[in-house]
Amino acid sequence: MTAILRSYALRLLPQLIALAAILLMVSFVFPGFFRLEIQNGRLYGSLIDIFNRGAPVVLLAIGMTVVIATKGIDLSVGAVMAICGAVAASSITSGHSLAMTLLITLGTGILCGLWNGFLVAVLDIQPIIATLVLMVAGRGIAQLVTEGAILTFNDPGLIFLGSGSFAWLPLPVLIWLAFGILVALIVRKTALGMLIEAIGVNRQASTLSGVLTPVLLIAAYMLSGLCAAIAGIIAAADIKGADANNAGLWLELDAILAVVIGGTSLLGGRFSIAASVLGAIIIQSINTGILLSGFPPEFNLIIKAAIIVFILVLQSPPARNALTFVALLRASRKPTERQAR
């Protein structure tokens, strides 16, 4: 058990260090950063805020991790968020019950994923183009659903999903925590995760060795669609309305970035959902941190780009090779020192 825990800790170490460094830096410029207090039966504080605001990107990153592990990419998640938010809003305003609305919305997300998966797995189109189709058309579809307006709603149940709280935590945090753990358990406690990695490493070889490649690929994109649907519901519930133009805008890029910061290679293969979630939290910490530290907001993107470039350069193959070289050098020096003694 401890061995497993240790290997987990080792895998997540770079991300944890990066997160700790960023949080420490923020707490230097903003002293009350780590303070938590309970008001009206809910925890308040900057940390909670990071977890809460980061919910959409965390959710998208969970689905994106699985898709990227199959050597794919899903550019459409932001547009799917917009579609699902629009569907949820129009369904609840047209009188459907909350359960029915959630069912329809999640179904829509899964359907979008099915379309992407069909293009990638059956028609054998490169993932980046296959999902580009829905990315371009998706926002148009969302606007079609809302008829170009911002659809507002005041159903307390749906709003609760975005801004309610349970057991001192905001509901979005609980949703992504539960969903992340569920997905991680499903892929890691069964052979699914390994099979997904196999597809990412070599799709043809996995097909030849009897992996049901098309089914798993479609399932990966459907999971990504489902994640986008949940994120879309949370985003819509948060502002009590569906904004087809801005909901989830550019979040696909943040989600991909979260996965890459989490150390999952864009070339497919080994993946870690926990690391991607940490990656998403890192991105949100940067966003919140810059806001709190009182930098002019104009600098947000530059600082974000700089931090990202730094993390990516550290992870790049030449830098890694250099690090292993240094480590090897040290390891080889130790025995010679002993001999000298």
Binding site: V133, G140, Q143, K304, A305
Partner: protein, 322 residues
Amino acid sequence: MKPKYLPLTATIVIFVLSYALCVAQYPNILSTRVIGNLLTDNAFLGIAAVGMTFVILSGGIDLSIGSVIAFTGVFLAVVLENAAIHPLVAFAVALLIATLFGAVMGAIIHYLEMPAFIVTLAGMFLARGMAFVLSIDSIAIKHPFYGTLKGLYYKLPGGGRITLIGGLMLLVFGIGILIAHRTRFGTDVYALGGGTATAKLMGVPVGRTTIMIYALSGLLAGLSGIVFSLYTSAGYSLAAVGVELDAITAVVIGGTLLTGGSGFVAGTFIGILIQGLIQTYITFDGSLSSWWTKILIGLLLFAFILMQKGIVYVSRSERRHA
């Protein structure tokens, strides 16, 4: 006909057919005024799309061009407002910055062996961020030289005008076609798109070519930014969001394979015209909502990808039988 000409031919046929359909419904679309406006309105997109074509031909992608366009616009506006230099000097400086920006991204992609997608994504954030730092407001450009440039046009029979920026786009496409098919650099780009390992074995200078491709894309994005600032007479850091997507779409509709190695700069031009035509038609119709543009372009994209798949499949099975 060689299979490599099929996507381009299909694009041209579809463009001519859809144009004929539009003309059948609204005869005015055939007028030189509409054609002149089609060129002027899409000039900045077209120029940026030429750069994107080279990047995609080499098997890469450049997500930063929209941000570079916005940065160039804001840069020009701020410089012309605060410094007493001639716009032409400012243009040169802006082009230099944009080219260097692209070259650095190319160098990172090559030397750090990182995927172009992620590197240019960071570049997209960085360029947009630099634009924000320069100014978050929309700044009008009132320099008299801008007025002179905007007043330049070539009058077509029928009252249409080929403006300076529309003509510039045609020129850039012409030069792009020459570079792609008549220079060593052009063949190197195609070779790189066919596969980095094979290109290296054939003696293609992979590092230099990669850097030059992204530098060219940066240069054209900068030029597109200048054209955009002439077109809008302003610089705004939130302008040109998502232009990279429109450019990628135009390239794909133009028959270039996103896997790289196959396609034509001329196809991208038709791709731009098809997108412009859809918008023009929706404007003419008046009752269709703007979101149909996105849905139609998405469908078109899908149809072209399917067609390319079919062509590749057919040409492969032909080769097998031969």
